[in-house]
Amino acid sequence: MSGHEFHPLIKQLLDGDITLADLPPELRGEGEAALRLLAAVDRTDISMPAVTWRVMTTLERRRRRFLPWLLAPALAIAAALVIVLRPTAPAPSAALVTVRFVLVAPDAKQVSLAGTFNQWDAQVTPLVRTGATGVWTATLTLPAGQHQYAFVVDGVRWVPDPGAPAVDDGFGRRNSVLTL
């Protein structure tokens, strides 16, 4: 869905492999914009009111970045990130994993998440807009395993997560796949 993909050097910048100073001058503007966007995401605190402290103590947080360079600021819905916090130990079948879903949709009035984990109900899992950048986020605690999902923009547009693999949904669209 995205018509724009970042330059490989910008991807390396977002990965932390290089710094802004390592970029050639013509890419520094784009690099700064990408870092600002990522910073807006990272400023959002993760809160898990539904999870008891006991569960929280069992989860050793490890943040995994999902293709932040897929952000495409020129489009209404530019990109999405999934940041997964998961235990480092092998996950038992009943393990819970905390996942942050992020979608960049500057023009959206509302964004929600629908998937196998909420019976595809687009009403029950809204994303929250973060600042003025059009970054929408939601943090969920899901059972380890596999989940399929899509973002629902303004209640009508079903949008796969460009930062995650996707499969045919059987209706001519794509479902994003999350394996935890």
Binding site: P8, K11, D15, R64, F66, L67, V84, A89, P90, A91, P92, S93, A114, T116, Q119, W120, D121, A122, A144, G145, Q146, W158, P165, A166, V167, D168, D169, G170, F171, R173, N175, V177, T179, L180
Partner: protein, 221 residues
Amino acid sequence: MIALLALPLTLLSLQQPAGASIAQRLAGRVSPELASLVVQLGTAASARGLPIDPLIEKAIEGSAKGVPAERVATAVRLVAMQLDTAAGALREGGAVPDTLVIAAGEFAISAGLSNHDITALARTGASVAALTVGLRVAGTLGAMGVPSAENIGLISAKLRSGQPTGDLLSVPARVQAEISRGVTPAQAAAGLERAAAAQARHGPPPVHPTHPSHPPAPPHP
């Protein structure tokens, strides 16, 4: 004679709970016509030992997305066919499939794997639980663009290594990390397959206890 009459009645009574359960789950989420079709397909699937959840979920998903009922019905029928294909492929590979592994096989098919791929994974001799995770991960890798040969090679190596399922679940993230370094999905999977095969031959790398570089400072008096 009584036994002959009792048999169909017993079968009907066994089917009824499946149908009632399906109808209950679909109530208010899909049209009555679609619910009727899913009850019919689900009851038949249940009688053949196939899972009903994928049928119910596909119907709910289609309705939630506002897809026309005829198209949802087509998609649900396709899922039913893929469940049959997955079950057959698993048996072909020597597995005794339960509903979870069949559903995982159906997902793998929907992600582009063939029945031969599923049979190949079943032939690894992995437990049904591990095979269930393996099929789900293989489907995810397929969705990430990993070609079938490298995909099945990697997951087969992982299943044969007997590592915990948590290790299997981390494979998509590791493939993604390799791809982000600039290699193709096929190269990423092939590299991980070589590592898994080497680990299977030589065992896991030794874990060295970490020692502090300096002895801890004595406590202040």
